[in-house]
């Protein structure tokens, strides 16, 4: 089993899955409106995970308030398309509403990103969670615009199969976008930012510009998905538009699949979905599925930090090296030498309390 084989298997499975999805509406009983509604939501959550992964996975800035973009997009569409907003009583058609939603969410994301991305790691994550809570309350407060906590209604004019296909194609496009982005220099610079932001900065990467850009993109994508959801759902209020679970799903799905990989969010979300379906059907576990998810998240973070993709890659890398080493005597000798050298280097890099290895902000003093 080597890399090429794994890749081929993966692609074949993916192709099968996509084919199944394409034929779903035509499957009579299985392809009824209710199923399509659910699967459309699932697709949207995969899209959200992919979008979250662009910032959280590629760049390493873990956005714990990601669901806020969904809500903002949803509410923008809602406000524009419904007639219940005092300030915007006209009812907009779908496409302009979605376009405006996407751009407005992008704008907000850009402004917020410039502020919050000054914070590192966990501080950024919490600040984003705070922003999520904040915005939900803002929506509740600005009554004349958003109709407060009462909610907004959009006229239900929808062709379910058509909407399903639109969502499917959009999400497939997102998969491609994610893959393509990773291969550009821009994508590589994001990985550099994640791996070592100061180092990246020192080597010519404008880290602020790049990370805010991808954050804006993430916001825009999820905002659009939220707007699409609003249309499909025909009703929204602050408590269903701004839902923590959406962030949790995106984070967990991506972590499960493999943070920062292209396939990770997809694999993870599918896995999560299957898991959830299994749990739903067990009557007794109906109430506990979130608890189980919490346990799962904890376990994944502690014991499987690279997710499922990490497992696969680990396997492949291990097998490759094993094959390489054992084939020649030279190979073994160099392996021994390397081992000797890495025992010296390990101590400086694996023990963060080693004073020598500490961040050199002060001379001789730990930061």
């Amino acid at each position: 089993m080597n890399k090429a084989v794994f890749k081929t298997i993966g692609l074949v499975l993916a192709a099968l899955l996509v084919a199944m999805l394409f034929f779903l509406p035509m499957l009579g009983h299985y392809g009824n409106d209710s199923t399509l509604f659910t699967v459309t939501l699932l697709l949207a959550s995969v899209g959200t995970a992919i979008s979250w992964n662009l910032t959280g996975g590629f760049t390493g800035y873990v956005d714990f308030g990601h669901a806020v973009w969904w809500g903002i997009g949803a509410y923008t569409t809602g406000v524009l398309m419904s007639n219940e907003s005092e300030w915007i009583p006209q009812q907009w058609p779908l496409v302009p509403a979605l376009i405006v939603s996407m751009f407005f969410t992008a704008l907000v994301a850009n402004l917020v990103g410039r502020l919050t991305m000054r914070l590192s790691g966990p501080y950024f994550s919490i600040a984003m969670l705070g922003f999520f809570v904040f915005f939900r309350e803002v929506v509740r407060v600005v009554g004349p615009l958003t109709n407060r906590g009462i909610g907004l209604t959009i006229k239900p004019v929808i062709n379910r199969p058509l909407w399903y296909y639109i969502t499917l194609i959009f999400v497939l496009f997102l998969v491609y976008l994610s893959w393509w982005l990773r291969r550009t220099r821009f994508g590589a610079s994001l990985i550099a930012i994640r791996e070592d932001e100061i180092g990246a900065e020192m080597r010519g990467i404008d880290t602020t510009r790049n990370k805010v850009m991808v954050f804006t993109l993430s916001g825009a994508i999820t905002g659009l998905l939220g707007g699409m959801w609003a249309y499909q759902n025909t009703f929204l209020d602050p408590d269903i538009a701004f839902v923590e679970v959406r962030t949790i799903d995106a984070v967990m799905g991506t972590m499960l699949g493999g943070l920062g990989t292209v396939a990770g969010p997809i694999i993870g979300m599918v896995f999560l979905f299957v898991l959830r379906e299994l749990l739903w059907t067990q009557e007794s576990l109906l109430q506990t599925h979130l608890i189980v998810q919490g346990l799962l998240l904890g376990a994944v973070v502690l014991y499987l930090p690279k997710g499922l993709m990490g497992l696969v890659r680990g396997e492949v890398a291990f097998l490759d090296r094993f094959r390489e080493r054992s084939s020649t005597f030279d190979g073994m000798e160099s392996a021994v030498l390397e081992a000797q050298e890495s025992s010296i280097s390990d101590s400086e890099n694996e023990h963060p309390n080693d004073p020598v290895a500490m961040h050199p902000t002060w001379d001789g003093r730990t930061s």
Binding site: R183, T184, R185, F186, A188, S189, I191, A192, E195, D196, I198, G199, A200, E201, M202, R203, G204, I205, D206, T207, R209, N210, M213, A317, E338, Q340, E341, S342, I344, S345, S347, E348, N349, V356, A357, M358, H359, P360, T361, W362, D363, G364, R365
Partner: protein, 257 residues
């Protein structure tokens, strides 16, 4: 003769503490200058200021005649100043080649260009440097699997990708296997003598500085204590006292926390 790097009156304070209190330091084209001092002397802070990782409260820094005092690190990386770090900053999950390719954003640095894949030029340059640094057989290995010394070489390579006029080396020998130390020193010497790259080195190991540097600057308590040829410095009483203290115990003279 052009000064590659000219810093005057550098002051850097942290709250009530003055880490660097008015230091002048310069590097001429083709020079190798060592920067030493006991723990707490401010040499790392000065280094951070010069490489723009930290802001300066007072003073000015000129790089090849351009004022870089207010620039950001990524900007100075584009105009000829590179820096390595004491804490190794390589991209662990990427291969050696990828690390190298990511380290140049020279030439066309517009946003649009960054949506293309690394150019052939970049890859060729990366390969040449990888060969020069004797890392060829590790080209496609993950950086995390390299030994300490090999990572130091990689980091040096990454600093060289931008074709800098001056490289700031921060404790480049720390944690490196003695056999590799010679290799690294040798590479640095070649770069300096054959390609005219200037170096400013921060080092704890004075012997290393003695071997390589044309001139040495000594800091203590945030100020310049002495400056001159390595031999002179090693015999300078004030320097000896700063490092070893009156009673000859090593490492004294440090209070700067």
């Amino acid at each position: 003769m052009t000064r590659v790097l000219e810093a005057s009156g550098i002051v850097r304070r942290f709250g009530g503490l003055t880490a660097v209190g008015g230091v002048d330091i310069h590097v001429d084209a083709g020079e190798m200058v060592g920067l030493i001092g006991p723990n707490g002397s401010g040499k790392t802070t000065l280094f951070d200021c010069l490489s723009r990782v930290q802001t300066i409260d007072e003073g000015s820094i000129m790089l090849n005649g351009t004022d870089i005092s207010k620039m950001q690190p990524h900007q100075v990386a584009h105009i000829g100043l590179s820096r390595t770090f004491q804490v190794l900053r390589v991209y662990r999950e990427l291969t050696v080649l990828e690390n190298m390719e990511l380290s140049v954003q020279w030439g066309d640095i517009s946003l649009l260009s960054s949506f293309r894949k690394p150019t052939k030029e970049t890859t060729e340059r990366a390969d040449r440097l990888i060969d020069f640094l004797l890392l060829s057989r590790l080209r496609d290995q993950q950086a995390s699997s390299l030994s300490g010394g090999q990572r130091r070489l990689l980091e040096l390579g990454m600093a060289l990708m931008s074709d800098p006029s001056i490289v700031l080396l921060d404790e480049a020998m720390s944690g490196v296997n003695p056999s590799l130390v010679e290799q690294i020193k040798d590479r640095i010497r070649i770069l300096n003598q054959e390609q005219g790259v200037s170096f400013l080195l921060v080092e704890h190991d004075i012997r290393f500085v003695k071997d390589l540097c044309d001139r040495v600057v000594v800091l203590n308590y945030g100020e310049k204590l002495a400056e001159g040829a390595p031999d002179e410095i090693m015999e300078n009483e004030a320097v000896i006292e700063a490092y070893f203290g009156d009673d000859g115990t090593e490492g004294a003279g440090d209070a700067g926390n």
